[in-house]
């Protein structure tokens, strides 16, 4: 997927003006947050599981070569063919080659953020292979020709009317305002695809090193359809998805659904190990696993290593006041919200994604909800410092901040300036916010109003009131 993260301010403005999106976002993030809070409160072991998961991930990353090596060895031993891609272009080439060599003409795919990173569908379509998204939300946005807007609710920005019109146009279905009817239509169309597909494509929520298993967590059950019925199973996953042991899975499964949607466990968890065995009633004859580096080994080397602990639950999105306001598309790439604001610059390069670390209020909510304790607020700050040292902040901004710091450190100077500002504000704006400052400060007010200085500085009010009371 081509990143447009550098357009964040423009994309955000568009999102803020979209009334349907605003209503949907408010409802979705509120609902997810509420359900998560309830599920966490109802499960006394959450805190401990969180500590443990964070520690397992930290230790695994510190020896990623070992664990990944074990995973490849065990998966291969059980009949899987493991491929490794350095970057997106190479991953696309491998995916297309595998599909062609397997004689696939139709592939069904369940949700995979990693596959979005490499524009997987484009690669197969260019090779003349039809790829159908099977997660309902993904299916809808694929029909509409759009990109997902939320990790676990990709079509959160669409209304039932829009979806009905889309099904009418693309699938020849009669119009309806019934959501169950829409779901039934999609089920019927997708069932035919599942039964006809030569290859099922999945992501991986976890890769289990000691058994070589690929683990999928879904509610719809599309992940299991696509990995039981078609002759070939291709799993696409980032190298950081590995966990050491099958016995580690329960810890992560206690955290992921609770953090994502507030469920104790998603409806379906599939642990898929190698190809079908002799005597098996069904299952794929061929299993391919495509492991993506795509910038991850570079992250592993640096100070942001812990971001690779992410299990893609989406809790940080829902808790983020910026995400709640602008939604996923504004972030301009695969990952959105706080995790996107950290991951995107690291995967596509800070110059490409420079505004994202600023798209945060640093309120800290993302760090609090993260089930694997990624220090997202620290990373956002750190990235801002990187932006500065890489010359990605304007000289005006740097000078302004220096000046601000200088004033704040000198109480006398601050008081004098406050008095002047208060008088000016009363005289020029009568206390109303300033909509446009003169150059060189005009950049500041392009997208926001500048609050007028109060007639009385807060510190003076504080002194007087306290004087009255005490």
């Amino acid at each position: 997927m081509q990143p447009t993260a550098h357009l964040f301010p423009r994309n955000a403005q568009k999102a803020l003006a979209d009334k349907t999106l605003q209503a949907a976002l408010g409802r979705a993030t509120g609902r997810f947050l509420h359900h998560r809070a309830e599920a966490v409160a109802a499960f006394p072991g959450f805190g401990e599981a969180r500590e443990r998961a964070s520690e397992i991930k930290r230790q695994t990353l510190a020896q990623l070569d070992h664990h990944l090596g074990r995973f490849i060895e065990e998966a291969s031993r059980r009949g899987a063919v493991v491929h490794v891609a350095r970057d997106a272009a190479q991953a696309r080439e491998i995916a297309a080659r595998v599909a062609k060599e397997e004689g696939v003409t139709l592939a069904v795919k369940s949700k995979s953020m990693a596959s979005e990173e490499i524009s997987f569908n484009v690669a197969l379509q260019e090779a003349g292979i039809e790829v159908v998204e099977s997660d309902l939300g993904e299916y809808i946005i694929q029909l509409a020709g759009e990109a997902p807007s939320h990790i676990i609710a990709p079509a959160v920005h669409k209304t039932r009317e829009e979806i009905s019109r889309l099904f009418e146009r693309k699938l020849g279905e009669p119009p309806t305002d019934s959501i169950p009817a829409l779901v039934a239509m999609a089920r019927r169309h997708l069932r035919a695809k599942f039964l006809g597909a030569g290859m099922g494509v999945s992501g991986a929520n976890f890769l289990v090193a000691d058994t070589g298993s690929v683990v999928l967590v879904t509610n719809e059950g599309n992940g299991r359809m696509g990995t039981v019925l078609p002759r070939v199973h291709l799993a696409v996953a980032g190298i950081e998805k590995v966990i050491p042991r099958m016995s580690d899975l329960p810890t992560f499964l206690r955290l992921l659904p609770r953090s994502a949607s507030g469920q104790p466990l998603s409806s379906y968890v599939s642990v898929l190990t190698g190809t079908r065995r002799e005597g098996d009633a069904e299952g794929p004859e061929k299993m391919h696993i495509l492991l993506l580096d795509c910038g991850r080994s570079a992250i592993l080397e640096g100070k942001y290593r812990e971001v690779l602990k992410c299990i893609r639950c989406g809790a940080c999105l829902n808790s983020c006041p910026v995400y709640q306001s602008v939604g996923g598309h504004a972030y301009g790439w695969v990952y959105s919200g706080p995790i996107g604001a950290v991951l995107t610059p690291l995967l596509v390069g800070l110059p490409e994604a420079a505004p994202l670390p600023d798209a945060s209020t640093l309120c800290g909510a993302c760090g609090e909800v993260c089930p694997v304790k990624i220090p997202l607020p620290d990373f956002l700050l750190e990235l801002r410092a990187d932006m500065r040292s890489q010359g990605l902040k304007t000289p005006g901004e740097i000078a302004g901040m220096k000046g601000y710091a200088g004033v704040m450190k000198r109480a006398g100077l601050l008081e004098a300036l406050e008095r002047v500002a208060g008088l000016l504000a009363q005289f020029f704006t009568k206390g109303k916010p300033v909509e446009g400052l003169p150059y060189p400060f005009s950049g500041w007010t392009e997208r926001r109003d500048f609050p007028a200085a109060a007639a009385q500085p807060f510190r003076k009010l504080w002194k007087t009131r306290r004087g009255v009371q005490g």
Partner: protein, 215 residues
């Protein structure tokens, strides 16, 4: 081989990133113990039933004389007209055949359903295990078992021997840790989606209802 070269290069990048000199590093750290159970140790079956019911599942128990009419009624209420079961699953066959008088139901096969049987179906299968912690039914391809009854049908009826209900997920995975089959499937409720206007709707791809018959 391109893939092998690419793999080698990945491991070189990882070693460099981890500051290793020479080739891949030592043994992994010792396993962290399992997370403690969320509930108390007694009343496993009732905790299983409570957890599955909470996510929209139905749990039936009692003698066949008691359970079969209730099950038949539930299937009719769901509009089910055809029943199928794995050929080698004697328990599932017995229950499905015993339900015929409570119909109208016809028997069909997994292959017919796979071929696009248009009738509304209930798929029967004996489960490997149950998990009390999450109200989960565990089914797998172990010993050639088929997953189609819980995959393609409109209603899934899982036969669960009471003695195979374990307390925690850890115990369920331990059953397969030695030599995992191709497919271990944890089922905790009906197939569902909230992808349209965040409205919870069942039957997205798999069964819209799961009924567990404790045997």
């Amino acid at each position: 081989m391109r893939d092998v070269d690419e793999r080698e290069m990945l491991f070189r990048r990882l070693s460099a990133a981890l500051g290793r000199h020479g080739s891949p590093g030592g043994t992994p750290s010792s396993p962290a113990g399992p997370t403690p159970p969320p509930g108390k140790e007694s009343g496993r079956i009732s905790r299983f039933a409570e957890a599955l019911t909470a996510v929209g599942g139905v749990v039936l128990s009692g003698t066949p004389e008691e359970a079969l009419p209730v099950l038949g009624e539930a299937l009719r209420a769901e509009g089910v007209s055809a029943l199928f079961f794995p050929q080698d699953d004697a328990g599932a066959r017995e229950v499905a055949e015993a339900l015929i008088p409570f119909g109208p139901f016809t028997l069909t096969t997994g292959e017919e359903v796979r071929g696009g049987n248009p009738a509304s179906t209930a798929g029967f299968r004996t489960a490997d295990a149950g998990i009390a912690e999450t109200g989960t039914v565990v089914e797998s391809s172990n010993r050639g078992g088929t997953l189609l009854p819980g995959l393609l049908s409109d209603v899934h009826v899982a036969l669960l021997p009471s003695h195979s209900v374990v307390e925690r997920m850890d115990e369920a995975f331990a059953l397969y840790a030695e030599d995992p089959p191709r497919n271990i499937s944890l089922i905790s409720g009906p197939s569902k989606t909230a992808d349209i206007e965040q409205t919870l709707t069942v039957g997205a791809h798999g069964p819209r209802k799961i009924i567990v018959l404790l045997v």
